[in-house]
């Protein structure tokens, strides 16, 4: 943001710190009118500025979704390259704690389905820093799905990451943990769960490879594929609703597991996802509605022991 004067930030209730640092011309507090200010952001991007549009949560992006899809994602194509749209839509996505059904939805699969959009989802501080910078520099519209629950967590950061030139590539997943027995894909908060599951699995002699997707669109099909060809087993994890989810895509993508790696699978893929219900408030129900570490462990074990189980059942 300090590097490029064309970058400006707009949204509701923007933190004072940024306002003080960059001034009211570049940090704009908006009324609670997502359709209006998102449209304004997209228009400013048409002109050549680089807006960062903040949603208090991505649930409210539904008010403005037409601008994200029809005004931003499709313009470069419809204009045959005349009107590109260098904009970032960012905000917390998915479940926070105890906020109920209207404030807990994950939008990764929706936005990830739309050609013309790039969809990123950071997990660690390294991701947040490197991917946000990449998003702001990108000439295309980027949906940047953060997680409120991760804001509070701290991650070890290397010197390289702290360097002002640090940036991450868009469209590349990161192998957070190498392993040989089973591939676990995840993004955002679920990467942390997957890593913890991997630790538990290790105790049972299962060596899990954990892939942090980072980019939902473009999806890094080749990294996933290479991993599955090695491990022959796949568990996908996400917080969002299961039907038509990111896991569904990974399981069936042509460049991915089922189609191209068909010959390689030793067990059915396992999908772990948010429960197929609106998010309940009560703590016990909420816990059941989002994937827990033990769900991932169980699914991974099933994938690894499946041949045995099948034989036993037969």
């Amino acid at each position: 943001m300090s590097a490029d004067p064309k970058v400006f930030l707009m949204g509701e209730e923007i933190t004072k710190g940024l306002l003080e640092k960059y001034g009211p011309e570049r940090v704009l507090d908006t009324p609670i009118t997502e359709a209006g200010f998102t449209g304004i952001g997209v228009g400013a991007a048409y002109y050549g500025l680089k807006p960062v549009v903040e949603f208090m949560t991505f649930n409210f992006s539904m008010q403005a979704i037409d601008h994200i899809i029809n005004s931003a994602a499709k313009s470069n194509y419809m204009s045959a390259g005349q009107i590109n749209v260098p904009i970032v839509f960012r905000g917390p996505n998915g479940a926070a704690a105890g906020v109920g059904a209207q404030h807990s939805q994950c939008y990764a699969s929706w936005y990830g389905s739309v050609p013309g959009l790039k969809v990123l989802s950071p997990y660690s501080s390294e991701d947040a820093r490197g991917l946000l910078k990449a998003a702001i520099r990108d000439p295309d519209p980027v949906v940047f799905l953060e997680n409120e629950l991760l804001y509070g967590e701290s991650f070890p950061v290397s010197d390289e990451v702290l360097d002002s030139s640090f940036c991450l590539p868009i469209g590349k997943a990161k192998i957070e943990r190498a392993g040989k027995d089973v591939t676990i894909t995840a993004f955002s908060k679920m990467v942390g769960h997957a890593l913890k599951a991997a630790e538990l699995l290790e105790k049972d002699g299962i060596d899990a490879e954990v892939i942090n997707l980072r980019s939902i669109r473009p999806l890094d099909r080749s990294t996933i594929n290479a991993s599955v060809r090695k491990t022959n087993r796949l568990v996908t994890v996400e917080e969002g609703f299961p039907q038509h989810g990111v896991g569904a895509e990974i399981c069936s993508s042509s460049a991915s597991v089922v189609e191209e790696s068909f010959g390689y699978l030793d067990a059915p893929v396992e999908r772990v996802a948010g429960a197929d219900v609106p998010m309940p408030y009560a703590a016990n129900l909420e816990r059941m509605a989002v994937p827990q570490i033990e769900d991932i462990v169980r699914a991974a074990k099933r994938a690894c022991y499946r041949s045995v189980a099948l034989a036993a059942a037969a």
Partner: protein
């Protein structure tokens, strides 16, 4: 004691495109004492919710209504339970006003079985359909078209009743409000849009969010009335006026000039974007409960002691309800899959690990 008495509102109404109701409000000793008791109960309930939140018994969001009680209470005094109410997330007291119980409130806040939504809705999603309270909505502004839809249904059903759709000053800039207003005006829907102007939307002062913060005028071609929202009698007068207007002429906007003492939600201390002086000034000069207390005392309808006793009673009621709510169990885990549909046709639904947890929807 229901002897009629007349009291003057301290602030006149200001109108836009319509007549102005009289400042003389009819009431009775009984009504004033009920106002006092109801508002004291709401106040106490909200303060208790604050403590429960701090004790981590309430999670997530929790938007408190203390300061704004006169709106809920005055509105109820003007209408019947056949009229509909719909509001945003700051819904505890509105629910109570509609006849909801403290046990339902506290149980819902703590995510228990006895909650008005059996613990599944949470703080922002209270409902009481049997007395026409339709929530409890978390998306700023969404309740306004929904409320106009209730008004549509009332008119369609020839029920001769109206809907009050409450929203904040922050919500007042939402486009869907203007869309719904236009349709309501075209179709003469008995919709009353009540802008509870507490002067802040989260940390944003009204003038920073609205070029024209004269919310009662924002309907342009739709009439509006500005009301002292800290005065339950003024609110009652305005709501009566609005109900009559709406049944005859279609939509009308009421801007209630009010104030929230608490921060926006529990994570907001409420003191970074406004001065402590401002808050204590309102408490001292405009507090809705104190206003009624003064009226009661001035008219000798009760003694100071009697009013203090009411407050004590109320306190106990709240404490008892909390104790009871704490005993209420968490919802059964089978509730994860109930109410997804009314009719599930035996479709399958899945838990996080779909091979471990799945259900057949009835």
């Amino acid at each position: 004691d229901t002897t009629p008495m007349t009291i003057e509102t301290s602030v006149p109404f200001t109108s836009h495109q319509c007549d102005t109701p009289s400042r003389s409000v009819e009431t009775s000793p009984n009504e004033l004492l009920t106002f006092f008791r109801d508002m004291a109960l709401m106040r106490r309930m909200e303060i208790a919710a604050d403590s429960l939140y701090k004790a981590k018994l309430i999670r997530g969001f929790c938007h408190l209504y203390d300061g704004q009680e006169a709106v809920a209470v005055g509105m109820e005094a003007a209408i019947t339970k056949k009229d509909c109410i719909i509001t945003a997330y700051r819904d505890h007291c509105t629910f109570l006003g509609r006849g909801g119980t403290l046990l339902e409130v506290f149980s819902e806040l703590m995510g228990r079985k006895d909650g008005c939504s059996r613990g599944k809705g949470g703080s922002m999603h209270f409902y009481k359909k049997d007395s026409n309270f339709y929530g409890g909505h978390g998306i700023v502004g969404a309740q306004v078209p929904l409320g106009c839809g209730l008004a549509f249904a009332q008119k369609y059903s020839k029920d001769e009743t109206v809907t009050f759709a409450l929203y904040g000053d922050g919500a007042a800039n939402q486009g869907q409000l203007f869309e719904a207003l236009n349709i309501s005006a075209l179709w003469d829907l008995p919709a009353i849009l009540v802008c509870e102007n507490n002067h802040y939307g989260m940390g944003t002062a009204e003038w920073r969010a609205a070029k024209s913060p004269a919310y009662y005028k924002r309907g342009d071609y739709v009439p509006g009335l500005k009301v002292d929202g800290m005065d339950a009698l003024a609110v009652k007068q305005a709501c009566k006026f609005a109900k009559e207007h709406a049944l005859k002429n279609g939509p009308i906007i009421l801007e209630m000039d009010t104030y929230r003492y608490h921060g926006h939600s529990m994570s907001d201390p409420g003191s970074t974007y406004r001065t402590r002086d401002e808050i204590s000034g309102v408490r001292q000069e405009r507090d809705p409960i104190e206003r009624i207390r003064k009226l009661i005392l001035a008219h000798d309808l009760a003694t100071e002691k009697e009013l203090k006793d009411i407050e004590k009673e109320v306190r106990k009621e709240v404490d008892d309800a909390i104790a009871q709510a704490k005993e209420s169990p968490m919802p059964d885990s089978s509730e994860l899959f109930t109410n997804v549909f009314v009719k599930g046709y035996g479709a399958e639904s899945f838990g996080a690990d779909r091979k471990e947890v799945r259900a057949t929807l009835p």
